[in-house]
């Protein structure tokens, strides 16, 4: 398992993927957080979907990582794309057969790859948190935001739990990406179908059918990152996501272990 993990990291650390992904994550988290402060008094809103986040809200203990939380959905889609691409590319490159010759225990191979990608996702979460929190600390004084509460023990506790939830959400998105990658065996199809479902179809469905969002996997996964929601509890989102992941993961694992490798 450790050998698979380390072997997978040799692929993950290639500059285009490693520096490219982490650079994008850092840049976007800085940008999204910066907009939260720069557009503070704007009539068009400064939060996601035009929401207005006031100076008072930003001064709360949770204000330190509010920008980071806003970025969580995008982190999930990035994790989904990386997990799906890294898995499906083994099929399209034909490299899976090489890996299986060197590690014929398919479950071990799958678990090692998964853990390596989970550690990569952890890195993206940490980098985005550093970017977001860093820019928040820089911009808050320029907008007369009282940051006393940001340095309270309550703020740090909330930060840790928020980091954990964003990471859980990213892992959930990534797991879906990996499962779809195994099922479809094509990176382009896996990423485009998954993102079209989560970003477009689920959005339309949850707006048009009342109460449906609590049954949609993408909505539940993003609710984990947000920690809670008025209508749907955190626990409900966690359990719902776990059920979906068990189903997706079970199908993908069975296919990975049983399916002939003929490409």
């Amino acid at each position: 398992m450790i050998r698979v993990f380390r072997s997978e990291w040799r692929k993950l650390r290639r500059p285009t993927l490693f520096a490219g992904t982490l650079g994008i994550v850092f840049g976007l988290s800085v940008l999204i957080t910066a907009l939260l402060f720069i557009l503070l008094d704007s009539d068009g809103g400064n939060g996601p979907r035009g929401r207005i986040i006031t100076r008072e809200t930003l001064a709360l203990p949770s204000g330190l990582y509010l920008g980071f939380t806003n970025f969580a959905g995008l982190l999930g889609t990035i994790a989904l794309s990386v997990f799906a691409a890294q898995t499906a590319l083994e099929y399209t490159n034909g490299t899976l057969r090489n890996l299986l010759v060197r590690q014929p225990k398919r479950l071990v191979l799958l678990a090692g790859k998964y853990l390596a990608m989970c550690s990569f996702a952890l890195l993206t979460v940490i980098i985005s948190a550093i970017g977001s929190i860093g820019i928040s600390l820089l911009l808050a004084p320029t907008k007369d935001i009282n940051t006393d509460a940001w340095f309270s023990s309550e703020s740090f506790e909330l930060l840790y739990s928020n980091l954990g939830n964003v990471y859980l959400s990213a892992i959930a998105y990534g797991t879906v990406g990996m499962a779809v990658g195994i099922i479809l065996r094509s990176p382009i199809s896996s990423i485009s179908i998954s993102l079209a479902w989560i970003l477009i179809l689920e959005g339309i469905l949850s707006f048009t059918v009342d109460g449906l969002d609590k049954w949609l996997p993408g909505q539940l996964m993003s609710l984990i990152a947000e920690s809670s929601n008025g209508d749907i509890s955190y626990t409900y989102a966690l359990v719902g996501t776990a059920i979906y992941l068990t189903i997706f993961g079970g199908i993908a694992t069975t296919l990975f272990v049983k399916r002939d490798v003929s490409n």
Partner: protein
């Protein structure tokens, strides 16, 4: 152990298609065994079954005395290149080998040795996608040699190589076989297998048509005499001589091809001289592996 690979009624069905049909063969220790067959004969599927990538529909096989249902028992001692080299395009040749070295727990020192061996040391840092087909093949062979294999299974290893590259691979395989590695190599370039393979397994339509020593297959088919007289009219006289001696003949351009053993050459020369024919060509030719192959499979060149 007399056979490193032993297949018994190995079968693979895809729906109604019988890709591999109860193949049975033994691959001897320390020899180069050629795996011959036209496209779609079932060679790659057989190799995939041997490597645990494809589950057989029926039958069994053993590699290094372990059943193929337990690939983890024998694959640490097996090197393989299946259906051409497959690597990560964005990684360098060295990094690609290191991915596999890490996975199989082989030292990185081995990677450097193999890059040197296959002549890629000076391009080790170049991305795989920039490699020529020949370089990709050589990297594939290097990857197959990573585990210091007892058995080497290569699918079309000379595909895309230039004549010099083919010669290098041929020599490399001979050196490896002489060092005790048993090699199972498939190729559609039959002339290559004729040169390097000690044994052959010939398959077509999923069935084994021949297995045994290469020399036995070649010897099973009679040699031929190619003769030519100084005049065009000599062709008929030469054919009459062959017919009266009981050997069939045919015209091939300005030559007469007589299906006769070597010792008929002297008798033919004497008879031709007696009939006033001056021979300008008298050549003994043996059937190539390709010709023997087409004879076995009933195909046409």
């Amino acid at each position: 152990m007399s056979a490193v690979i032993s297949a018994e009624n190995l079968t693979k069905k895809y729906g109604d298609l019988l890709a591999v049909d109860h193949v049975t063969f033994d691959i001897p220790v320390g020899a180069i065994t050629g795996f011959v067959g036209p496209n779609g004969a079932g060679k790659t599927t057989t190799i995939r079954m041997l490597l645990g990538l494809v589950k057989p529909s029926a039958g069994n096989a053993r590699i290094l005395e372990h059943p193929i249902s337990e690939p983890e028992m024998y694959l640490p001692f097996v090197g393989a290149m299946i259906e051409g080299p497959a690597f990560y395009p964005a990684l360098s040749g060295r990094e690609n080998l290191r991915v596999l070295a890490r996975l199989g727990d082989f030292p990185y020192k081995k990677v450097e040795e193999l890059l040197e061996l296959v002549g890629l040391a000076d391009r080790a840092t170049s991305k795989f996608k920039t490699y020529s087909l020949g370089m990709k093949q050589r990297l594939g062979i290097a990857a197959a040699l990573l585990p210091n294999p007892k058995v080497l299974i290569l699918d079309e290893p000379v595909n895309g190589l230039d004549p010099a590259g083919i010669h290098e691979v041929r020599n490399l395989l001979r050196v490896l076989a002489d060092s005790g590695i048993s090699i199972f190599v498939s190729s559609h370039i039959l002339s290559e297998l004729e040169v390097i393979a000690d044994h052959l397994v010939v398959v077509d339509h999923g069935k084994v048509l021949y297995q045994g020593a290469t020399k036995d297959l070649l010897a099973a088919h009679k040699p031929r005499l190619a003769v030519k007289g100084s005049l065009v009219s000599d062709q008929e006289i030469l054919r009459e001589i062959a017919t009266s001696a009981g050997y069939p003949s045919e015209l091939s351009g300005d030559q007469v091809i007589i299906m006769a053993p070597e010792n008929f050459a002297g008798e033919l020369n004497k008879a031709a001289f007696a009939k006033g024919v001056v021979l300008t060509l008298l050549q003994i030719t043996r059937p190539t592996l390709e010709e023997s192959f087409f004879e076995i499979t009933g195909g046409e060149k």
